[in-house]
Assembly symmetry: C2
Homo-oligomer: 534 residues x 2
Amino acid sequence: MLGAMQDWDLLVTKVIDHAAREAPNREIVTHWADGSETRTDWAGIRRDAMKMAQALEALGIKKGDRVASLAMNHARHLVSWYGVAGMGGVLHTINPRLFEDQLEYIANHAEDRVLIYDAAFQPIVDKMRSKWTSIEHYICYDPPEGSDALGFEEWIAPQDGDYQWAAIDERDPCMLCYTSGTTGNPKGVLYEHRSTVLHAIAAIQPAAFCFDASSVMLPVVPMFHAASWGLPFAGAMAGIKFVFSAVNEPAVLCDLMERENVTDSAGVPTVWLATFQYCDANDRPLPKLRAATIGGSAAPKFMIRRLMEAGIRVQHAWGMTETSPLGTVGGPTFDWDQLTLDQKVDKAAMQGRPVFGVELRTVDLEDRTKVLPRDGEASGALQIRGPWVIRRYFKADEDALTPDGWFDTGDVAILHPDGTMQITDRTKDVIKSGGEWISSVELENAAAGHPAIAEAAAIGMFHPKWDERPVLFCIRKEGQQVTGEELIDFLKDHVAKWWLPDAVEFVDDIPHTATGKISKKDLRDRFADYQLPE
Amino acid sequence: MLGAMQDWDLLVTKVIDHAAREAPNREIVTHWADGSETRTDWAGIRRDAMKMAQALEALGIKKGDRVASLAMNHARHLVSWYGVAGMGGVLHTINPRLFEDQLEYIANHAEDRVLIYDAAFQPIVDKMRSKWTSIEHYICYDPPEGSDALGFEEWIAPQDGDYQWAAIDERDPCMLCYTSGTTGNPKGVLYEHRSTVLHAIAAIQPAAFCFDASSVMLPVVPMFHAASWGLPFAGAMAGIKFVFSAVNEPAVLCDLMERENVTDSAGVPTVWLATFQYCDANDRPLPKLRAATIGGSAAPKFMIRRLMEAGIRVQHAWGMTETSPLGTVGGPTFDWDQLTLDQKVDKAAMQGRPVFGVELRTVDLEDRTKVLPRDGEASGALQIRGPWVIRRYFKADEDALTPDGWFDTGDVAILHPDGTMQITDRTKDVIKSGGEWISSVELENAAAGHPAIAEAAAIGMFHPKWDERPVLFCIRKEGQQVTGEELIDFLKDHVAKWWLPDAVEFVDDIPHTATGKISKKDLRDRFADYQLPE
Ligand SMILES: Nc1ncnc2c1ncn2[C@@H]1O[C@H](COP(=O)(O)OP(=O)(O)OP(=O)(O)O)[C@@H](O)[C@H]1O
Ligand SMILES: Nc1ncnc2c1ncn2[C@@H]1O[C@H](COP(=O)(O)OP(=O)(O)OP(=O)(O)O)[C@@H](O)[C@H]1O
Ligand SMILES: [Mg+2]
Ligand SMILES: [Mg+2]
């Protein structure tokens, strides 16, 4: 050998070791479902994770076994992330908002051996227990007084915490997340130690979450949604303070943000919308954050503008469960200070730029072998490559990649010359009219810009001549009036003429998935017999 | 297989690919030795690196072969970093300020096959040529009009740039740097693709260089000094603008910083000192930087204070050639905003905190098996572990690690409970008096705080009763007066009584190494016959 650098595997255990060593007393605050609050710190998280690892081994859990959680955001859930990974297990974070058949499907598909759940989800556990065939042990994170469930703290208490993390290879799995089920049944993505650690190092850079020791993050994005966007790992790496809330009421969140000097928060657009509504109704200013990350679905412009006007840096992020999830983030561009507010809003309404480790390309929707130019115009199927991007779904027989090694996202996007990526649709939702593509997302965003519209969803309906024509389903804001004609008139200023919907239908609700996204699948089912007006 | 994430090796080629794809037109400016200026961009750097890779292959250079550079900072040097690594070669960046015997030793030890050099170093090449036994090809980065040397641009021009990066494993080497030779002959450190990429991702985080697209960096630290602290890789990853200067005159640097809107710079303390002196003499304000990184030797407090008072964030960094070199950096702590300026200066005078990927410990100087507490008091031998830390020196027969896998830095340090590391000395320079240790660095820093002292070096001299006693060698500032007694009086307020030097000797110069550090080895040699006063 000529010479060499050290062997040092990229392991999740090293992340928690680092946090406990370098930021031992940086706080982890939890607001629990019952309104109580507890405080621990990185040293405490690591100590409890070691005890939990011992407790799992005592149950006979082995390397590679799946341990499930059905829980909101709190410190004990965080302990489980490191405790399960640290003994070589795989934490499967189940989304409690999934439908019953999905809940049944994924726990059995994952072959979970242990389930640790919040008392709030006891009804789900009671209902599903007989259908879950592999779960041997049920443990409750926060058993109410008098409950006969085994409590998490009670369970790990007998362990002495004198534990050596299991011998793990950096390509071993540490976590299992299923996709949101927007386009079909949720699919399992098995994160590895290496992919998780690389994702976390990338996530703390200024162009992404921009974490340093002074950051105080309240993640509203749940720990069961794409690993809470990797925040619990990135935050440990940078030694930040976390504020968790097991309830997502805006009043609680705003109080917590104020009281704990929260600097950063992250959530899907509906979370930010709920914050706006609460603050308006209660005459409260928006929380004083440094940065707000919005992702999971497209962030509408009015939302971006309002946050920016409040002095908050907006990070519009795009990602998928399959990409750990960080794909692109809209941090400031090199010329940010020279842009007007309007220009900033326009830029931030796109999905941002890839950090190192993410490679993007778009290919023709019809001819997938044809790579499209990054010209800010051509829109095509978005494909991605990188060390934290999926190769093969959990238990699948085949890799989920193109013959030349790219993962097809199922999204339709435009790549701009400056690296900015703009999602225009999902391939399944794009509306094909007369051989041309109409972006359902752009139509919806334009409609949401009307002051009387609360939410809008565009889907393509069969048309004998044009193949498909767009129909817009809208919810009016409470107390507001607008007709379909008025809305179409309004849209004329914002989209091409041939994009204008053939009809606008006002509805009382629009179906959503378990992660709060519009479910076009359900909308299409609901309106299966819909007839376009002549 | 249960499921998996993608295979995606951490390669230096991916770094330049990323920069050229995502920030193709972000500028790379060079101020050349002849005063001319050129501009290229990341797309240009990659294009030229591909041509250079082809040109090297045309010379018969093979994977693993060493290609040397003897050059200052400029865009063609940067091209070489990626061109050599991209064809599987190893770039050996030679320090032109090394002494002749060192120059002879390292080029032959490295078995360099090609040397690419600046015209400014033609005299070195002419003198050494006959002693360098392995170099087959000499190429000049900037041949003056009429020179018969092969010019770099001329050499790569015939290539078409249609190149596929070589097939490289992430553990393959990409770069060879020798240490500064402060304590003995320079030792070769062979950086790998993986170690280099991980170091770069870590380096862009807010707690380290804090790079994003808006950063404009003028690295004064030379590209031959510990890979210019990894900046050329970190900067590419974040798509920053670089401003290089092949000359290090403060007037040129200050002009460039102003003209090119430089936000960041980095250099050893003497570089910052020269900037102060130039600005004072010319009644110019300090450059308006966001951040100044100081490393390579301890940054004195007056320097830190002055930069902070000018509104510049000070990043006092510690590292070694053996650690790629990032070990610790003094970015803001979590409570930074609550500190007074004095407290900030005191904190920043220590060497900062480790980023994720760096593990530190201190062990007893006499009993190396005894790990010391992180109590802010115990000082011991500093040891380090991590993916960008050396395992084995180039061509060494044995690993350079302790039996339990740590690299001993040769530095003496104190670890504080909040993670801050404080260098107190080198193990070879520490002064042992009556069984207790005196920190030569602290003595020097205290002396440098006297307004009449320009530079100070403390070394231990033999003492029949105490083993060693400190002697302080000092240079007075021009036109300033101070006696040894007055200085010792001054020191009484700053160090323990038994640390006070037995003698102060005023000298006209203090010997320095090739990277501008005080060479205590040479000082000890020069004063080998020194007698302590009775
Ligand atoms: N900023 C964003 N703008 C627009 N769409 C986004 C954004 N962020 C995420 N998305 C959408 O969310 C998808 C990823 O979501 P997730 O992994 O939670 O599951 P899903 O795709 O909704 O469900 P499933 O894959 O099971 O159908 C992306 O493919 C994209 O369609
Ligand atoms: N911020 C700092 N404060 C104090 N000392 C520092 C700092 N940064 C670096 N150093 C010193 O520089 C050393 C690393 O320097 P480098 O790798 O350039 O070679 P060297 O140690 O000077 O030379 P050699 O190893 O050949 O004797 C560290 O071990 C430490 O002693
Ligand atoms: Mg999906
Ligand atoms: Mg050294």
